[in-house]
Amino acid sequence: MSPERTLRGRTAVVGVAETEYYKWGKSPDPEFKLAIEAVLKACADAGIDPRDIDGFSSYSNDRSEASRLSAALGCKQLSFASMQWGGGGGGGSGALANGAAAIATGQAECVVVFRALAQGQFGRFGQGPRIRTVSGHPAHTVPYGLMSAAQMFAMKVTRFMHDYDVHQEALRAISLASYAHAQHNPRAVMYDRPLDEAKYDSSRWITEPFHLFDCCQENDGAAAMILVSAERAKDFPHKPCYVMAAVSGSQHRAGAPVHNTPEYASSGFTTVAPRLYAMAGMKPSDVDVLQSYENFTGGVLMSIVEHGFCAPEECNEFFTIENLLAPSGKLPLNTSGGNLAECYMHGLGLNIEAVRQIWGESTCQIPGANVAMVGSGPMVTPVSSCIFGSEATL
């Protein structure tokens, strides 16, 4: 990749913030107010005037529209407004890539990457549609009782587990790691609510192979990150956290309708991950800590395989709680508690946690972490991932 065509080291995160994280329906504030609050807090964290934000980047059809935000905050001008296509959390790192690209190519100076979500105000993800008739591609699944996210993805995971003889304990280890890390994080909705093997094993099935604790929460809240050029990033209170790579996409015909994608048993990263490493100039063994989006634990497992941390045949040996725990595990995973146990902020909380690891500010800090990766939204299309690095990685 020629130097002109990379995001490597061109931009840096200089501020992050989240609102208080609430259980579903418990936010006292409407969604748009949560978005404003998160952006203002992120600006305060960065030490910048919110009026200097000139770019907004989000994903998953965020309802907090860029022009309204820019007007509400009295921003001097709007230079960049971007929405990453696709649902779920697949755009978490893609929105970061879009913002970084805008800055790297001179389209904007200061971009806020954000996500706001009040499922209490706008309806829950985990429920089927209350409609009389259904048409288009959903007509070929919904009448058979296939309508929630868990149901859309379970058969991918089942097929993967079948193909590679992956045991339920591998999924359990992912869930246990998130809950264990959340016990150190006062922001986490599941703080003070530990999980052990027995509690996981006895929890009800949502849909096989997902127990209750394999599934993300439903939450209200908002999160935001402030992105500027690498040149400017040296002048902020935080040490720069560089975007070393950020990419999105999915493999051949990932969006083929009615579960007809050729590579079915996949998280969708088989073409994305190689581009990520190529841009960063890194390999899996360079990664100190990983935040991997848990809509469902099975998606995390396939993401980790497709990012090259473990061969598919080795899952039962690799996915143990010892390997996934901070600070000493082979691959510390979801160190804030993630979507399972911190908050389901459509995964932007994972990007924020990765930045905090580079800053040395995590509640489950990896000593001397220089490289933190995020995988966003497995099993949807497009997915995305990114790598943050300290100055030492430039």
């Binding site: 097929r159 309708p257 009615v258 007809n260």
Partner: protein, 146 residues
Amino acid sequence: MTPYLRSGLPKPVPDSDGLDAPFWEGLRSERLLLQRCNGCNGWQWGAEFVCHRCHSFDLRYEETKPDGIIYSHQRVWHPVHPALAEQGPYIIVLVELPHADNVRVVGNLIGDPMQSLVIGARLHGVFEHHPEDDPAHTLLQWAVTD
């Protein structure tokens, strides 16, 4: 036959773009019709305006045998729709159709909801008519072939 799932789920209707109307009409008369390309003769599903192989717009609907194999499966426990509140566990299968280039369709596996599920098991289609529903429609369900 008694419908596999309790009534009250959204009922399928052909898309307003006309793309999948022959599929739904076919099921009413117990025929499985899927898209096949007049340019390259390949099968395609779900329905699309163009053949993904050769980019021909000249696609027809052709009947194929409702014989399949389990490509993947799930036993659902948690009801996410009020109509299924008293349903109990039910099985969704992703069915590969060997007679149609292995395209896949989604359906329910009729019989004991606690039956064991085996990827690769042979299935045959069962047409589940809903003549009293508004609009009337037919679903394609599946049963294990001994």
